[in-house]
């Protein structure tokens, strides 16, 4: 099975070479963690680095906001649209939930640009518009399968509560089993500073990095900066230094204190 690289070198290393082709991927995280940035970067890199056209399907923001935000990272989406390598489709989720809604909305665009990647922003919006008594898992399954049968790898965004991942459950509507790979983005508070961590919660049929990595949203986009090897309990929301680091801290503090005392006695 081939790999679909995100083009973010450190993330591809965590994924042991990239997502498996045609796997349904979920990028989950609280508001402000950078889900849209990561997803857009995956599409833009797909086009510019790997020659794979892409569609960004949004229910939330109007495209003009997305064009503007992308421009801040140096990604010219309008130019990619002019080259028929990218399409930004904005619609209401209830239309996608109609029988054959996905086909009616997307078939023409798919035929036009032959995409290999598609971002769905977001599954939460589908859930919001679901008729009373509707089964979110069935609807999400239908939409993801429609995309997959067109030979396109879907990446769905899921907005979580701030504390998601603490109990190692990403969605509260049991959708994790519908997707093959889950990337969880989360805020962590360490030494009174808010930092961001990414972890691969699941990757069917492949080995993957198990450790949490720190990332930042830079002017160039999503960038993984390193690990949290000095800390434990990061996922549970109460990170503390590992025993060996605490010992080092204690030793350094003691040394500093002795030096201070020595200085005073002279």
């Amino acid at each position: 099975m081939g790999r679909q690289k995100t083009g973010i070198v450190e993330l591809d290393a965590m994924l042991r070479g990239g997502f498996l082709e045609r796997d349904a991927v979920m990028v989950a995280g609280a508001a402000g963690t950078g889900k849209t940035t990561l997803s857009l970067q995956h599409l833009v890199n797909g086009i510019t680095k790997f020659g794979e056209p892409g569609i960004y399907l949004t229910f939330e923001q109007l495209p003009d906001q997305i064009y503007r935000d992308a421009e801040n990272f140096g990604w010219d989406l309008k130019k990619l649209e002019d080259q028929d390598k990218f399409r930004l489709v904005c619609t209401s989720p209830d239309l996608l939930l109609e029988p054959d809604g996905a086909g009616q909305l997307l078939d023409a665009t798919i035929k036009e640009i032959q995409p290999r990647r598609m971002v769905i922003d977001s599954l939460n919006h589908l859930e919001m518009y679901l008729p009373r008594g509707g089964d979110m898992r069935k609807e999400a399954y239908r939409v993801l399968n429609y995309v997959k049968t067109k030979g396109i790898s879907p990446l769905a965004i899921w907005e979580t509560q701030q504390n998601a991942g603490q109990a190692f459950s990403v969605t509260d509507v049991g959708m994790s089993f519908l997707v093959d790979c889950i990337l969880l983005l989360k805020f962590v508070e360490i030494d009174s500073a808010m930092r961001k961590a990414v972890v691969i919660m699941k990757m069917r049929g492949s080995d993957h990095e198990k450790a949490l990595k720190e990332y930042a949203i830079t002017p160039q986009g999503f960038k993984i900066e390193g690990g949290f090897s000095d800390y434990e309990g990061v996922m549970s929301g109460s990170p503390h230094k590992v025993a060996s680091e605490r010992f080092v801290d204690m030793f350094q503090n003691q040394k500093a204190s002795e030096k201070h005392k020595g200085g005073l006695s002279h």
């Binding site: 619609t91 809604g101 009616q104």
Partner: protein
């Protein structure tokens, strides 16, 4: 073409968001109006091939007719050039 404020709002909306595909009510909401208020203007713009329509389920959806819109823009540009030539 811009015989009403609503047509102007619709034109700006679809030019800024060429990938917008939505129901009449959905489009109306995005310019702060209701479906019935924009229906006539949408029909005029469909007749002028600026917008396109098709049905999903029981509902009509509206989108930018990219080729029709491009042709209309070229036609307007040609008219303006012609007008400029006459006044010079």
């Amino acid at each position: 073409m811009l015989s009403s404020e609503i047509k102007g709002d619709l034109l700006v909306l679809f030019h800024k968001n060429p990938g917008l595909i939505d129901s009449l009510d959905g489009v109306a909401r995005r310019i702060g109006r209701i479906g019935t208020a924009i229906q006539t203007d949408v029909q005029d713009m469909v007749s002028a091939h600026i917008l396109g329509t098709r049905r999903i389920g029981g509902r009509e959806i509206i989108f930018l007719d990219r080729s029709g819109d491009k042709a209309a823009q070229e036609s307007i540009l040609g008219y303006l050039k012609n007008l400029k030539g006459k006044t010079e």
